[in-house]
């Protein structure tokens, strides 16, 4: 047991799913509900084993499907529980009905999305189409680059979700296959320090199902009756305020994490070798590692290339993205999913939207790669860099570059 929640930090070797599960142990949730789905299964297997071993002292609900998983957690959270689950792809789709309701109830739960491409074509491999499909549901969305970041971010996510100015559910996304099963060295923070960092769960002071505080939870609200419209608008606006607050709150949480544990992650967007760059590539999730390698290689060739990694995707860190892009003359954006609205990826859309709110006008090159488990290698990124350099010279592709089209 002590091995899992040590009194001092120590190194272990594990994959991203186990890292998330170990982060959950550190966060000491009251209720965890699980249902397995590829590529998330080993995560909930780990949680179940931790409960069986007495390492994780949470109520474990083995529900009959993701819809009930999240529903049970909603109930538990309304009764005062710190809660956690994880899902993926079709599981997220099945969870959608309670999922879309959670932010409006302002329930601060943490749910890992082990991202997977969406059916059909039938596939069981990584891709971010599942998470991107729910980007407008009101959940905070955070994407991780490596296994250590998964562990650290799942812990930090509880603090973000439960912050009184935020009170929103958080999805911590880690890429199926590449992070779920990718093994690396990870530093486990000391359990006692994490307890100090997180503090007591405060999840239902604003809305509760508790005989000591009887109230109607979520009665009909809105309509054209007296005060209905004002009431509904009031709730929606406060939800938006919670989202907006998440940017600063998450930045503060990262600063505190860095002070306590010595790892300083960029909370919103990370700028890598950007300060003197002519062009940048924009990445999200585990592809960032290969992207950084490609940037390093380009730098070795004398090309002034930098990288912008998106960590917080919802709310979209517009200011940080504008500040980063204002340093370069063109950017190549790599999406691991598609948008069916435009001929580009969703991250591409968000970057364009952010730019329109600023005086910065630079060419953007849209790239789509890594669908259904495909790898995005440093060679793929070399193509992105080359296309972006051409765009800086005025040669802007009219449609996205599909990185794995010939793989």
């Amino acid at each position: 047991m002590n091995q899992l929640t040590p009194n001092s930090s120590r190194m272990i070797v594990c994959d991203g799913n186990e890292a998330a599960a170990r982060a959950v142990v550190l966060a000491r949730p009251d209720v965890v509900s699980v249902f397995p789905i590829t590529p998330q299964s080993s995560l909930v297997e780990s949680l179940s084993q931790f409960v069986a071993d007495g390492v994780l002292g949470a109520e474990l609900i083995n529900a009959e499907g993701e819809h009930s998983v999240l529903s049970a957690l909603q109930g538990a959270c309304l009764a005062g529980a710190r809660t956690y689950t994880a899902t993926s792809g079709p599981g997220l789709a099945f969870m959608f009905e309670p999922y879309v309701r959670t932010p409006g109830l302002r329930l601060p739960m943490v749910v890992s999305l082990v991202t997977r491409d969406m059916l059909s074509p039938q596939c069981v491999w990584g891709g971010q189409q599942d998470a991107m499909s729910v980007r407008e549901c009101g959940w905070i969305q955070i994407y991780c680059e490596d296994v250590q970041e998964v562990l650290d971010t799942v812990v930090m996510a509880f603090k973000l979700a439960e912050h009184k100015d935020v009170l929103l559910p958080v999805n911590v996304c880690h890429d199926g296959n590449y992070l779920s099963y990718g093994v690396s060295r990870v530093e486990m923070p000391a359990a006692g320090l994490v307890d100090e960092f997180l503090g007591e769960a405060a999840v239902n002071w604003h809305i509760a199902l508790d005989p000591a505080r009887p109230m109607a939870v979520d009665p009909l609200t809105g309509g054209t009756g007296p005060g209905g419209a004002a009431s509904f608008v009031g709730y929606r606006k406060s939800q938006i305020r919670g989202m907006a607050s998440a940017l600063d709150v998450f930045s503060d949480i990262h600063a505190e994490w860095g002070e306590r544990f010595g790892r300083h992650w960029a909370p919103l967007v990370e700028e890598y070798r950007l300060d003197d760059a002519d062009i940048a590539i924009v990445t999200i999730g585990s592809m960032t590692g290969a992207g950084k390698d490609a940037v390093d290689a380009a730098r070795d060739r004398g090309e002034k290339v930098g990288l912008i990694k998106v960590k917080m995707y919802r709310p979209f860190p517009r200011g940080a993205m504008i500040a980063a892009l204002s340093k370069v003359k063109a950017a190549g954006i790599v999406d691991r999913s598609v948008s069916f609205a435009w001929d580009c990826g969703p991250l591409h859309q968000d970057v364009m939207t952010a730019l329109f709110a600023s005086p910065v006008r630079i060419p953007l090159v849209g790239c789509i790669g890594g669908l259904a488990g495909a790898d995005i290698t440093a060679e793929h990124f070399a193509r992105v860099i080359a296309a972006t350099a051409q765009a800086a010279g005025g040669d802007i592709p009219a449609s996205p570059i599909w990185l794995n089209e010939h793989d």
Binding site: V31, E59, S71, G75, A208, G227
Partner: protein, 438 residues
């Protein structure tokens, strides 16, 4: 219709004087139909008809001479039909029916038209004439109503009656889930910041009531706090889209009381058919026209499926038999301390089924008298037990003809309904635990 009455015997007050027997004998002009007998230890016992809910004398009678009256609850005897076989006296464990040599046939208590002579004669208070209303008053009158006045249920709806009775009994240490349907529709969860209830209450989704309640209960168990979590759900949220979460929670044995108030359709939103809607029913999505003749399949019978989950307690109930409901509610609450408890209460809907609002309770009673609705309870240990006999039911047509949603039905349709009612009773009988001796 009178509430169902009984005579209560209080042994501590009985001195064995026999005044009751004399009064009975005098009133009936025959041998006394009650008998003071020596108790097992000190004191006295009373051989007296209990007017049982599931009378064994009626079940034993091969001639149809004994019958429990649906309205008064009195087990009556018919001189015309009796063949003097005395099998009824063997069935009764209370000595409530016995051969009377002076009359030359069996005799039993008939409650003296509501003023039992024995009770009037007892000066010690050892016999008390107790109506169902009096019993409910004794146990529930001092309990607080948990809903606001002025809930806006349709006229004649028995759901409001049911939820008020239920929550008076359960009290404040509770959390109520009212998934979308008539119960929140009548205002129990409130509107724009106002609540309709004194206890914590919420709208789950139509689909996830049992799962949410399970999550709530787990957290209170974790905190060591005894809170009753209860669903007041409709049939749609139980048999249709809510079925998966209900099934999962039942399988996990979550300590939840799930009450399904079955009005056989989505009545709150305009009377669309649900999985519980019965064969032949007109609804707004199984309309009657040149071709359509109402619902073309039988309803899904959820209580039987819940037995299949091995729930700690499963029972059916009708608001025409409130005594029976309250007894089952007690057992369900006790069972929900250890496992999943499921109550299925039938709720004929005057608005959607098209019968006069004043007839609801009579419709409920006719459902039961015709076996269209059977009253039973189930535990894994004891199997199924009918709490009201299913022998010699009225023809189901007597019930069907009261209801507007069936008015288009042809004789062949009625035969089909009768056959499916008979089949269901037969199926349910198979869930009874057979005595080891057999």
């Amino acid at each position: 219709m009178a509430a169902q009455d009984t005579i209560r015997f209080v042994p501590e007050r009985c001195d064995g004087c026999g005044d009751c027997m004399k009064a009975c004998s005098k009133a009936k002009g025959s041998a006394s139909r009650i008998s003071v007998v020596a108790g097992v230890g000190q004191g006295w016992e009373m051989a007296l008809c209990r007017q049982c809910g599931d009378p064994k004398c009626v079940a034993n009678c091969p001639a149809g001479a004994l019958d429990k009256h649906g309205g008064t609850g009195i087990v009556g005897w018919s001189a015309e039909l009796c063949v003097d076989c005395h099998l009824c006296t063997l069935g009764c464990a209370y000595g409530g029916i016995a051969f009377d040599p002076t009359a030359g046939h069996v005799q039993k208590c008939d409650m003296c038209d509501g003023a039992p002579a024995c009770v009037l004669a007892c000066g010690k208070g050892a016999l008390q004439h107790l109506s169902a209303a009096a019993r409910l008053h004794e146990t529930h009158a001092d309990k607080e109503d948990m809903f606001v006045p002025g809930l806006s249920a349709c006229q004649g709806c028995n759901s409001e009656l049911l939820i008020r009775h239920t929550m008076r009994r359960i009290g404040r240490e509770s959390i109520v889930a009212a998934p979308p349907g008539c119960i929140p529709g009548m205002g129990t969860v409130g509107y724009n910041g106002q609540t309709g209830s004194k206890v914590p209450i919420f709208h789950p989704l139509l689909t996830n009531t049992a799962a949410m309640l399970g999550g709530i209960k787990r957290q209170y168990e974790r905190k060591g706090q005894d809170v009753t979590v209860v669903a007041l759900a409709g049939d749609g949220g139980a048999v249709d889209v809510g079925f998966q979460s209900l099934s999962g929670a039942a399988e996990r044995g979550e300590r939840v009381l799930f009450i399904c108030v079955d009005n056989e359709g989505y009545m709150n939103t305009g009377m669309q058919a649900s999985g519980s809607t019965t064969f032949g029913s007109w609804t707004s999505t199984t309309p009657v026209g040149e071709i359509g003749r109402g619902k073309s399949t039988d309803g899904k019978y959820l209580p039987q499926l819940m037995m299949g989950h091995g729930c700690a307690y499963v029972a059916t109930a009708s608001t025409a038999f409130l005594d029976d409901y309250h007894a089952k509610l007690e057992k369900a609450l006790a069972a929900s301390r250890a496992g999943f408890a499921y109550l299925h209460v039938h709720a004929p809907c005057p608005t959607g089924w098209r019968f006069p609002a004043a007839m609801t309770t009579e419709v409920c009673r006719r459902q039961v008298e015709s076996n269209f609705v059977t009253l039973w309870e189930f535990t894994p240990a004891d199997g199924l037990r009918f709490t009201r006999g299913v022998e010699r039911p009225r023809p189901v047509a007597d019930y069907v003809r009261m209801i507007g949603k069936y008015k288009h039905l042809a004789p062949a349709d009625l035969e089909r309904i009768q056959a499916s009612v008979d089949r269901r009773v037969e199926t349910l009988q198979g869930f009874r635990r057979r005595p080891a001796a057999e």
